[in-house]
Symmetry: C2
Subunit: 208 residues, 2 copies
C-alpha cells in the first residue's frame, strides 16, 4: 500500500496533468501559463515544479501520457483490434481532452523549441504489439515487419489527423482513417483477411 | 511587358517572401518579427503590409508558396514521376529554406491560431495530376481514385516528415518515404508496374 503522502502526491500530479491538458487544449502552449495550470488544478507552483520542473516538463508529460484516459478495450484481437484502436482514436480525439492536447502538443512542439518523440514511440510500440499478435494469428502477409509498419502507420496517422483537424476540425477523421486503411491493407494482409475486417467500429459489447 | 513599377513590386514581394522564409526557418513563427523580415529583405514596413497585410499574411504566403523554389523536373512520367517528386521533396526539405519554412509553418500553424489548408490542397492537386497521368498510362489498379489517394498520400507524407524531423532532423526521411511507398503500392499498382519503379531517385538526366 502507498503511504498517504505518496497517495497525495500521485493525486496532485494527476490533477496537474488534467488541468494542464485542459489549458493547453484551450489556449495552446504559448497561451498557457503555469499560473493558470495550478489555479485550475487547485495546486501550488511548488508542486508543479516538484513534479515537472518547468512548463516544458508539464507539456512533455501531457504528450507522453496522452493515452492515459483512453478506455480499456477488450474483446477483439489481431488486425481487427488495431483497426478498432485507430477508429476509436479518431472518435476520442473529438471528446478526450488529454488525448487531444497531447497530440496537438506533439505536432506543434517545434514551435516552442521542443523536440521529443516519446509520444510517437509509445504509439509505435502499442501498434507493434497488436501487429505481432496479428502475425501470430497468421493475418499478416509474409515479410511484413510489425515494427516497420507500426512506424509507418503512426506517421501516416499523425499527418491524417493533422490535415483533418486543419480542414474539418477532425469531423472527417474517421472517414479518412478508413480510407487510409484501404490503401495500406493490400500490402499487409491477404484479401481473405481484409474481407473479414469490420470498419463499423462496433465496440467489444457488439462483437461479443 | 510589365511596367517598371510592377516589376519592382514583384521583386519586392519575392524578397520579402525569401527573407520571411529564412527568418521563420531560423526562429519559428513566434520568434520572427516583421521588423526582422523587412531588415533582412532590405524593404519597408509599408511594402510588407501592402503585399501581405500582417505577419500572419506573410506566414500564409510562405506556406502557400512553399514549392516555388523547387527545380522543374522533366523526363519521367506517371507513377515514377510521383515517386521521384516525393523523394526529391525529402531531399529538398534538407536544403530548400522556402520549402522547409513553409512545411514547418503548415504543421505548426495551430500554435499561432492559424487554420489554413491551402498548402495541403496545393500538394493534393499536384499529386492528383500525376496520378491522373499514371491512370491514363494504365499504371493504376482499377478503382483507385486519383483525388482520394492524393489526399491520403499528402496526409501520410506530412506525418512522415514530421516524425522524421522530430526523431532525426529529417536525416532518415528519404528511407521513410521509400518505406511508405512499399506499404501503399500494392493497393494502387500491379506487381508488374511496381517492379519497374526506380527508387534510386536518379535525376531526369540519368533517366534519359
Amino acid at each position: 500500500m502507498a503511504q498517504p503522502q505518496q497517495e497525495r502526491a500521485v493525486r496532485t500530479r494527476a490533477a496537474l496533468i488534467k488541468a494542464a491538458a485542459e489549458e493547453f487544449d484551450l489556449a495552446g502552449y504559448a497561451g498557457t501559463s503555469t499560473t493558470k495550470i495550478i489555479k485550475r488544478a487547485g495546486s501550488t507552483m511548488g508542486a508543479l515544479y516538484f513534479h515537472f520542473g518547468s512548463k516544458e516538463g508539464v507539456a512533455k508529460a501531457v504528450m507522453a501520457e496522452q493515452a492515459a484516459d483512453l478506455p480499456e478495450r477488450v474483446g477483439r484481437s489481431g488486425l481487427q483490434r488495431l483497426v478498432d484502436l485507430t477508429l476509436e482514436l479518431a472518435q476520442e480525439l473529438r471528446s478526450n481532452v488529454l488525448l487531444r492536447a497531447g497530440v496537438r502538443l506533439a505536432v506543434e512542439q517545434g514551435a516552442f523549441g521542443i523536440q521529443d518523440d516519446t509520444a510517437y514511440q509509445l504509439w509505435i510500440t502499442r501498434f507493434k504489439e497488436e501487429l505481432i499478435v496479428a502475425d501470430a494469428l497468421g493475418e499478416l502477409r509474409e515479410g511484413v515487419d510489425p515494427a516497420g509498419f507500426a512506424r509507418v502507420l503512426v506517421a501516416a496517422y499523425s499527418g491524417t489527423q493533422l490535415l483533418s483537424r486543419i480542414s474539418t476540425g477532425h469531423e472527417d477523421l474517421r472517414e479518412r482513417i478508413v480510407e487510409l486503411w484501404r490503401y495500406f491493407l493490400p500490402a499487409i494482409a491477404t484479401p481473405e483477411v481484409i474481407g473479414k475486417l469490420d470498419f463499423g467500429m462496433r465496440g467489444p459489447e457488439a462483437a461479443q
